[in-house]
């Protein structure tokens, strides 16, 4: 069965690449509705590719995982590395709205993990504005979010409701054949998670965060594969070009995994599994510095 799954996954990837040639999307920066309609027509042409994206999109880690690690590393909160919520007015096209919805979403995770609830209210408003424009604001109960943000006692609920809101929105967009918007939002969360991590490492040289930055190599490859489905959209083509430059730098990152058999035991009715495999990331100081610079450059083009 395992072999079959591998073959299936590889076949899916192959079909994705094959289907790229069918993408005739042009995109319309001025008319959001036209853009969505176009995404619908695209879906009809590349149904299988969109299905593959549905699977692959889960391989892009949630920003909560990166920000949790940053918090546990002891790094101090730095508001200056975040995108100003007032910038929300700058984003006119569906393309930039979706990307920056992902960026603000990742920042909201960072703010919430650090219990910066007072600041997070402004970011909730930015998310609301972009989500409304993209017609996906019904997944966020903004009154509840603002109420929860009024006290740090509600932080767990705030984190969970926000993350679940993004998860539901993502599923809805794919259900509605608006997978391109979903991919762009995930692209935004990915680059902002990486931006926050690289900015903190540039100041602290924390080895755990450095390793996590190196590990993003795996997700980056999948992200580029997903973006490639929409490569005929000039805006996405520019993104792909930028991400490919980042990928070239990541080629200098080596990830070594030594596999071991997991140990399983039952504890109070729960199955507890201890992974016996190990992984190690090899990344030179020079490569890390280049990745930090390129990430900053790429992210600044988006915000």
């Amino acid at each position: 069965m395992k072999q079959m799954k591998k073959i299936t996954f590889l076949t899916l990837a192959a079909i994705t690449l094959f289907s790229c040639g069918n993408d005739t999307e042009t995109g319309d920066e001025q008319d959001l509705l036209n853009d969505f309609a176009y995404a619908d027509s695209l879906q009809k042409q590349v149904v299988i590719s969109e299905e593959i994206i549905e699977e692959m999109i889960h391989s892009i880690p949630s920003p909560i995982e990166m920000t949790s690690l940053i918090l546990s590393s002891g790094a101090k909160f730095d508001e200056h590395i975040l995108n100003n919520p007032d910038n929300v007015e700058k984003y006119v096209s569906a393309h930039s709205k979706a990307l920056n919805l992902g960026i603000y979403g990742a920042e909201l995770g960072y703010l919430n993990i650090y219990e910066k609830t007072m600041v997070s209210v402004d970011y909730i408003s930015a998310v609301r504005s972009l989500a409304k424009d993209l017609k996906v604001d019904h997944f966020f109960d903004f009154q509840t979010l603002k109420r929860l943000a009024s006290s740090s006692d509600n932080i767990d609920s705030l984190i969970n409701i926000t993350t679940q809101g993004f998860s539901k929105m993502d599923a809805y967009l794919r259900e509605q054949n608006r997978t391109k918007a979903s991919v762009l939002i995930v692209t935004g969360t990915f680059i902002e998670g990486l931006h926050i991590a690289t900015q903190i490492v540039s100041k602290t040289s924390n080895p755990k965060i450095t390793e996590r930055i190196g590990e993003q190599k795996m997700s980056l490859n999948n992200l580029i594969l997903m973006l490639n489905v929409y490569k005929n959209d000039p805006d996405v083509a520019k993104l792909i070009s930028d991400f490919n430059e980042l990928k070239v730098l990541y080629d200098g990152v080596e990830i070594i995994t030594v596999y071991g058999e997991p140990i399983t035991k039952e504890v109070d009715g729960m199955l507890v599994i201890e992974d016996q495999s190990t992984s190690e990331v090899k990344i030179s100081k020079e490569t890390l510095e280049k990745i930090i610079m390129k990430t900053k450059e790429l992210r600044n083009k988006i915000i």
């Binding site: 799954k5 079909i15 880690p61 909560i64 767990d156 755990k208 795996m218």
Partner: protein, 143 residues
Amino acid sequence: MKKYTLFIIVIFLSFTAKSQCDEQVTNEAKSKLETSTYVKDFKVKLKTVTTSKDAKYMTYPIMLNKGTKYKFVLADDKAFEGRLIFELANERGRQLSSYIPEIKKHFSVLEYSCNASGMYFVNLEFENAKEGCGVLMYGIKNN
């Protein structure tokens, strides 16, 4: 190649990840997550099993990070007979399964201490390919 492509199409037709699994099932999964920080969930529904034995599987790649304890929880819609089975695999094979056939026991709460960052595969199926609707949810276990 055509054979595998056909299987893939059957998988997608058989499994409707976009299904409207009962909200109650999602809430049940959330409650099992307890204090863990929610990361993702997968809602799956199996309507029928068709021609291929392999068509009953659904696979999602996910990224897991070393040094992190993950809590995986499952919940089933009781209106259906099918019981959701979750398997986590890496490049080398299975890491865990929510069903232990030797003792014929299902586990709806699993804790996985990850020591190797990388791409893992979430495999979902319903026991004996029976019709079912269920949710797999996972989160980061807070220390």
